[in-house]
Subunit: 233 residues, 2 copies
DNA sequence: TAGTATAGCTGGTATAGACCACTGACGCAA
DNA sequence: TTGCGTCAGTGGTCTATACCAGCTATACTA
């Protein structure tokens, strides 16, 4: 029981929403009431709620109460952005299905972006990612084969970043992203359970190690009405 | 001086940094010390600092102190800025055509976003923006009528931000943006010289004044294959 | 019946005090 | 000189209390 009380309450409140005990739009008990329920001061309870409001899970209305927010899955560009974290912040259960996983010859753009030598192979994996079992995006990730040679498929698919940092001692640095719009191809529309030519948000991300070497190129297609980015400046 | 104490202190602390009295990397006085200086409780002072930490201006280090942050966060977010700047960065000549310009009753979402009282009117203007005479986006901007009452149409369409800051003495603060994907309506497809249902990148931006009042709500639809956002993090 | 005041609720702000874990500098000992 | 332990100071958390302003349903009035 190492974490602060307000974090523990934060997690318990989030579970209550995720379990469906509080539905979107519901008014949740008042801060004073919850403080009594959890046996803490109102200030502490407020702190727990505050973090959930910042995550977009709850919404306060002065004089009226606190409500379960209705919102799309939002990606905060300022924060760390693993899909898993993203879904958790949105109060959805993340899952994914690997469509393909191959060591292969890189395409021209892959070779260029990842600065590969002419004889290098890459690992290319295609995944469909879900939030609460609803398809959210289709993702193609490419990594130089040399970087993941000694790791298992499980390690790579679960958390490439962690494995690289913990096992290989490499440090992840910055990332370049471009966002644009496109329409769904036949294949992708089937994967995502939408119609052909439905709007998609396309994110292309090239991630670099601390020393400036590119190590991962990811192209993601998000379903337009199930996902949006959020930026603040 | 209606705003809460912690907001006032927030502003004074920010000015101290902006004036260069505290330089990047400097350790600022401790919370207890500042609380005495401003004559408030430590919790209140913490609230002021907290908001500045969230903005990326300050940085806390447990056990060590609070420091003026290296402004990376804000710089990387400045990737998305004004259309004019964007086009200039892309080496294109920006221009625009105003489609409509009306004082009218706000829609529900406009009224909500801009926190309007029930009887307030808004200025809504619709514009097509071009880069090298090629249509890039269609934009709908909404501003509370009270803010622009004393300004000319030219002032408002050219540079609302400058007019508000220079003439009205208001200071522009932060902005929230969401990015998603959609398809072109009949009307917009004509404006942008594309086909109906072609993919569009939708950007919605709510801008706030220094004191936290929302003052402008802009919805923009970018042609998918003529435009993309670039972000670095 | 239709409109209006109001009371009781809500979240927002603010206080003063307390204890904790952590950092970093200082001084002592090997 | 080098290493290590101590300790004052820092931000992090938490309590208990108080008053404010905004919302809403209820009861009352015209």
């Amino acid at each position: 029981m190492a974490s602060p009380i307000y974090i523990q309450i934060h997690n318990r409140l989030r579970k209550t929403v995720e379990d469906g005990q509080w539905q979107i739009g519901d008014k949740i008990p008042s801060e004073r009431e919850l403080a009594v329920q959890f046996g803490v001061s109102r200030m502490t309870l407020r702190q727990a709620v505050q973090t959930l409001v910042e995550e977009g899970l709850l919404e306060r209305r002065v004089g009226a109460g606190t409500y379960v927010a209705n919102r799309k899955v939002q990606e905060r560009m300022s924060g760390v952005t693993s899909f898993t974290e993203l879904m958790e912040q949105a109060g959805k259960v993340p899952s994914s299905r690997t469509v393909s996983y191959h060591i292969t010859t890189p395409s021209l753009s892959e070779s260029e972006k990842l600065q590969l030598t002419s004889d290098e192979q890459v690992l290319r994996m295609e995944r469909i990612r879900f939030g609460n079992d609803e398809p959210i995006c289709f993702e193609v990730a490419t990594v130089p084969e040399r970087l993941i040679r000694k790791f298992s498929k499980e390690d790579v698919t679960n958390s490439l970043y962690r494995v690289l940092e913990d096992e290989a001692g490499l440090k992840v640095g910055h990332a370049q992203q471009t966002v644009s719009a496109m329409t769904a191809s036949e294949r992708v529309s089937e994967y995502l359970n939408i119609k052909r030519n439905d709007p998609l948000l396309r994110l292309r991300q090239l991630s670099f190690l601390d020393d400036g070497t590119p190590f991962e190129y990811v192209r993601t297609q998000y379903v337009g009405n199930r996902f949006e980015f959020y930026l603040e400046r």
